[in-house]
């Protein structure tokens, strides 16, 4: 079993595909669940406190907007943990999104420069492409075993 980060990092579709193939998907909703189910919810709705943008300084400098650093505090540790990655280009908002394009760019960069196996895919626009899309993901994940 490998730990696989997906991009967009909020994509439940990609997460599901990874988990079905017996790997662990690294996705933001899991980090958010940890935060919001903590004993002490101080900062609703996500329980992200002003400490998170400071933790995000590990991934981006202080002159990077606080919203990017706060998001990186959630996504950065997932990238560090990742042993493989699936990146879907132009996924469309329904597939998942960090909400902030600067964060998306930094996430893709950090994944690519980590030196782990990366599967690059374009988002499918019809049924035939969707089948190929799933087959490629399956083959990639099987290769990780």
């Amino acid at each position: 079993m490998s730990k696989v980060i997906v991009y967009p990092p909020t994509s439940m579709i990609l997460s599901d595909l990874v988990e079905r193939m017996g790997h662990k998907a690294l996705v933001v909703p899991e980090r958010v669940r940890e935060l919001v189910t903590a004993n002490d919810v101080q900062s609703p709705p996500l329980n992200v406190t002003p400490e998170e943008p400071k933790k995000g300084l590990r991934y981006a400098a202080v002159d990077v907007p606080s919203g990017v650093r706060g998001r990186m505090a959630l996504i950065g540790p997932l990238i560090e943990e990742a042993e493989a990655a699936i990146i879907v280009e132009d996924p469309g908002w329904l597939t998942g999104c960090a909400g902030c394009s600067r964060t998306n760019e930094l996430v893709r960069l950090l994944i690519r420069t980590k030196g782990i196996p990366v599967l690059d895919l374009n988002y499918p626009t019809d049924d035939a492409q969707a089948k190929v899309f799933v087959q490629k993901i399956r083959a990639f994940l099987e290769g990780l075993k």
């Binding site: 101080q42 900062s43 609703p44 709705p45 996500l46 992200v48 406190t49 002003p50 400490e51 998170e52 943008p53 400071k54 002159d63 990077v64 907007p65 606080s66 919203g67 990017v68 650093r69 706060g70 998001r71 959630l74 908002w93 329904l94 999104c97 960090a98 909400g99 902030c100 394009s101 600067r102 998306n104």
Partner: protein, 408 residues
């Protein structure tokens, strides 16, 4: 309950959402998030004019369109994005303009960091709520009866006594101990007016020390500076009808307010550093060895182009000041360069965030430093008005507004 629609990007991930909601609650308001459909977001380019790479900004624009189409959804709007995000800065400004042009809903825009607290937002939220809640009171154009106003500012405390639409007494002291300074300024105004304190029918208080002073003297009105200064500015400039822009460069922060019929429509409050405030001019006067009241007259004789000065940061501004003097620059050129630099910071950091419409009115103590309104005129290419008693603007606004409460 006043409903403030929040159109934002990044606030939850900056850890400040709770602070925004706490500030709203403190002033009796509630933050709301207008619902939009996926279709609204997909059509944002068609309906708003642009779509951008960041999903949360597209959502904010879709919400702006929804509010304009359904003005009953919110009483006021706050547009907030991360400080230092260029994409967000463009969209924040465009959302503010869009709502301003297509509705009469007051808008506040603000760029935050993770250090933004409820206290930082409080005065801004209070002003936003006041413009909604007390629209009738803010529409008041004449002062009636015998009322007083106290402006407990960060640098100076001002007081006025007004009787039947005329200022009959003024008092001005440096702010040291907040309560004592307020009492001293108040007593001076009473003395000049030649009245007894007991005769005063009501007192209005504004400025940083408003809560402390207001409670101490049992003020009838305790109000933030944005609405009060707007009112005072248009009253003293005889510009109560139609549009106006009020610029108040204070001792600690600055306000730029877009006013329509005496009521603030959009405003910014802040300044990155004291380099963009009256503090830098005080420092310049001290370094030049002239009294602050003489700095403006000295500046009018100078040319800012002869001195390289940038007071984006007060420390760097002071360095430029010291360097220019050590290089033999003329004091009058240095004085004008300091005025120009402060005006330039306000122009670059704040006036880009409001609709600048004539008349442009400069108020507050710094407006009496003649070089400053001159520098602002050069930057804006419009005539800048400095009304009589401009330094008492907050106190006049408070005295005027509190007279409206006398009628029940």
């Amino acid at each position: 309950m006043i409903r403030i629609a929040q159109l934002s990007c990044g606030s939850e991930y900056s850890g400040i959402q709770k602070e925004i909601e706490r500030a709203a609650e403190t002033v009796g308001a509630k933050i709301v998030y207008p619902e939009v459909s996926l279709e609204d977001i997909l059509n944002v380019e068609k309906n708003f004019g642009v779509k951008v790479a960041s999903g949360d900004l597209n959502l904010a624009m879709a919400r702006a369109v929804r509010i304009v189409e359904n003005p009953d959804l919110a009483d006021a709007v706050i547009v907030m994005t991360c400080f230092r995000c260029a994409e967000a800065a463009i969209i924040r400004s465009e959302i503010r303009k869009f709502i301003h042009e297509h509705s009469r809903i007051p808008v506040l825009s603000y760029s935050f960091t993770e250090r933004t607290t409820a206290e930082t937002l409080l005065t801004r939220m209070e002003a936003l709520v006041t413009t909604v809640k007390y629209r009738g009171l803010l529409a008041r154009e004449r002062q009636k009866g015998l009322t007083a106003g106290i402006d407990s500012g960060s640098t100076t405390t001002k007081s006025v006594i007004m009787r039947d639409n005329e200022v009959i007494g003024t008092g001005w002291v440096p702010t040291t101990e907040v309560l004592k300074s307020a009492e001293d300024a108040f007593d001076a105004a009473i003395k000049m007016a030649g009245i007894k304190k007991e005769e005063i029918q009501a007192v209005g208080v504004t400025g940083y020390g408003r809560f402390l002073v207001g409670k101490h003297i049992n003020a009838r009105l305790i109000q933030e500076e944005i609405t009060v200064n707007s009112k005072g500015a248009v009253f003293l400039s005889d510009a109560q009808r139609g549009p106006a822009t009020v610029i108040d460069i204070g001792g600690m922060d600055n306000k730029a307010i877009s006013v329509q019929d005496g009521i603030p429509g959009g405003f910014t409050m802040g300044g990155i550093c004291a380099g963009a405030s009256g503090r830098f001019l005080e420092l310049t006067a001290r370094r030049l060895g002239v009294d602050i009241t003489q700095l403006g007259k000295l500046a009018l004789k100078g040319d800012f182009r002869n001195v390289a000065m940038n007071s984006y940061c007060i420390v760097f501004g002071t360095q430029s000041l010291v360097n220019s003097l050590s290089m033999g620059c003329k004091p009058e050129d240095v004085a004008m360069a300091a005025c120009h630099s402060v005006a330039e910071q306000v122009y670059e950091q704040q006036l880009q965030e409001v609709e600048v419409k004539e008349p442009v009115i400069m108020v507050g103590g710094t407006s009496l430093i003649e070089g400053l309104p001159r520098a602002m005129e050069e930057l804006l290419h419009v005539k800048v008005l400095v009304p009589k008693n401009a330094q008492y603007i907050g106190a006049v606004g408070a005295a005027l507004l509190v007279s409206g409460l006398l009628e029940g």
